[in-house]
Symmetry: C2
Subunit: 118 residues, 2 copies
């Protein structure tokens, strides 16, 4: 039931996305979609799931409040992560030139639908 939603997310990005994944906070993939750009979406998201924990810890320490969104842009691709609840997050991977504003909008819309199914 999550696959069609992740596919929808990819489609909304008009070729700018290279993958999307629904993952739990321990780095276990629930469902993923790759758009054949050669990125191992699961490994990438797993790497960043560790970072998310570090971010939550830091945010707690500096009293920033609960974290809802994280964006990491690097030379190879951009990762846009949206925290759904205390257990799950969705990550959308974009090509380096991908439009962040568009990605955030698409991710927000689809996240609402995914959250209903969790």
């Amino acid at each position: 039931m999550f696959k069609p939603l992740l596919n929808k997310l990819i489609e909304k990005m008009d070729g700018q996305a290279i993958g999307a994944i629904l993952m739990d906070k321990e780095g276990i993939s629930v469902e993923k979609v790759e758009s054949g750009e050669g990125l191992d979406v699961e490994t990438a998201a797993m790497g960043y799931s560790v970072v998310l924990k570090d971010i939550f810890k830091a945010a707690d320490m500096i009293k920033a409040g609960s974290v809802s969104e994280v964006f990491i842009r690097s030379a190879g691709y951009s990762a846009l992560m949206r925290i759904l609840d205390e257990n799950y997050f969705v990550a959308l991977f974009l090509k380096p030139e991908g439009n962040l504003g568009k990605g955030r909008f698409a991710l927000r819309t689809v996240s609402t639908e995914i959250r209903k199914e969790l």
Copy 2:
């Protein structure tokens, strides 16, 4: 010489920014500006400087290439960080409702000027 540039960054945000800081990767502040919203910009940036190191490590591990930009949105405020070189980054803190697109644009522009002075 960095103070006027950080002030310019704050001004560009039309009241949406709560602070900006130029910091080295060890978490030592070079210069900072706070706009009186009660956020201790230095402590917040210090907390996230540790996170940046974790992100660099993760990005390296998953072969994402060098990280140029990190955005963390939380309930209390949003932090937008731009990596200037191997030693320094600039962080711009926005109110929760602050416009991310505007923040990225302002930060990109001012970062170019800061980089010239480093």
